[in-house]
Amino acid sequence: MELLMPGLGLVFWMAVSFGFVLLILKKYAWKPILQVLNQREKQLAKSFSDARRIEYEMSQLATLKTTRVAEADQAAAEIIAEARAEAERIVAGAREKAKEEASSIASKTDELLEKYKKEAMQEIKGQLSTLSLEIAEKVLREEFSDRDRNLKYVSRLLDDVAIN
């Protein structure tokens, strides 16, 4: 029974010291501790949500990057194909032009050749007639230098005519 009877003195001192402990700890212990814990948790939550947001953004960026890279690849491929086609066209055009030029040069050359040939022929003809005249003159002169043989030849001609 004596165990169950609260004692006035102990109740008084207990109430006083517990009250003091409560007030002191409330002000100097629990307030700063809970404040720091609260702040830390807020910071953690913020860091966590930041991390999640950044992760999301990173994944967005990654998909963006892949699409951009794909687009760029495609564009590059297009540009290369275009360039190649252009180059081919240019080469083909150049070849065509070269061929044309070559053929035109060839035809001009032919014409010139023809012309020069004609001119040469003309000149040759001219000189040939002069030469042949000169030769003929010389031959004739040679022929006519030998009077006896000419006379014999004329007499033989005349003999033939006389027979007829």
């Binding site: 029974m1 006035l8 102990l10 700890l25 501790i33 809970l34």
Partner: protein
Amino acid sequence: MCNSLVSVYRSVLPSIRLISVIVLLSLPVGVIADSGDRDFDARKVIVDHVLDSYEWHLFDIGQHEFSIPLPVILIYEGKPYLFLSSRFHHGRQSYSGFAVGTEGRSRGRVIRVLDDGITPDPDASFIIDLSITKNVVAVFFSSALLCFLFVGIGKSYSRADIYSTPKGLPLFFEPLILFVRDQIAILAIGHDKYKIFMPYLLTVFFFIFLNNLLGLVPIFPGGANVTGNISVTFVLAMFTFFTTHWYANRTYWQHMFNTPGIPAFLKFPVPILPVIEMAGAFIKPFVLMIRLFANMTAGHMVILSLTSLIFVLGSVSILMGYAISPITVIFLIFLNFLKILVSFLQAYIFTLFSAFFFGMAVPKAGH
């Protein structure tokens, strides 16, 4: 076969060693039991140990008691009395008409005695006894220790960078503080209003936990049965009661005097339900008071009973004292571990139930 026996022996070797050490160390207990008086009164020893006392008993050597005398402060018939408890000579003598009672309700309390120094004065008026008893000293000590510990921790928190990992004492106490906040306050009261009750809940948790643990320490300044004293648990329960009703909101009072959803004939003209609700408001802290007191006192009594067993059997026969002491010591070690668990558990339960009462006092309107 041989190998397996050796391995079994090796695996149990540490426990055999431990038990041997315990047995050897506990043998002198039997010698102490033998040196004591032959008529050992276990009941008196146990009750005296769990009760409050005007002196702090340290130890006995032979027939001589060594104890720290504490101040006795009395107000009797308007006159103050202040003297050291050594004047009572361990309760065997009276001083200026006061003595320590030995019987019934006044056992262990200062009473007015007649001139013979023994007989209680039947006409004595009420003595206002504000003595600094053993439990008061223990309360002062644990209060000072609590303030020292947690004000230091609070300082280290206000200095620290909030990102820094706690070290030392904060590292040990932070999980407990978070436990009280998350598993007690937020659980029982809810996110909206738990904050106003946090200082009280943390203080009451650590006060009970520390005093429970100090009660397990058998040497000064531990060993006082503070949380197993009804006065202490009464004050704690009153703090819970007043805190509950100080912060109680409109819904709580409406629930008490005009419970919604209940037929009117239960409230008027005979207010059956309000009476029940009001009784409940007092029964709740009363149960808190009894639960903590009974658990802690019972634990102390079990430990003291087991210890007394050595002395009881030792006073019958010295051999029985020797025989029982190792068994008792092994049980006592187990019990002390159990008491560490109970220390935490009772602090948790008191705090949790207080938090539940606070939660009921501040419900959301319309609940």
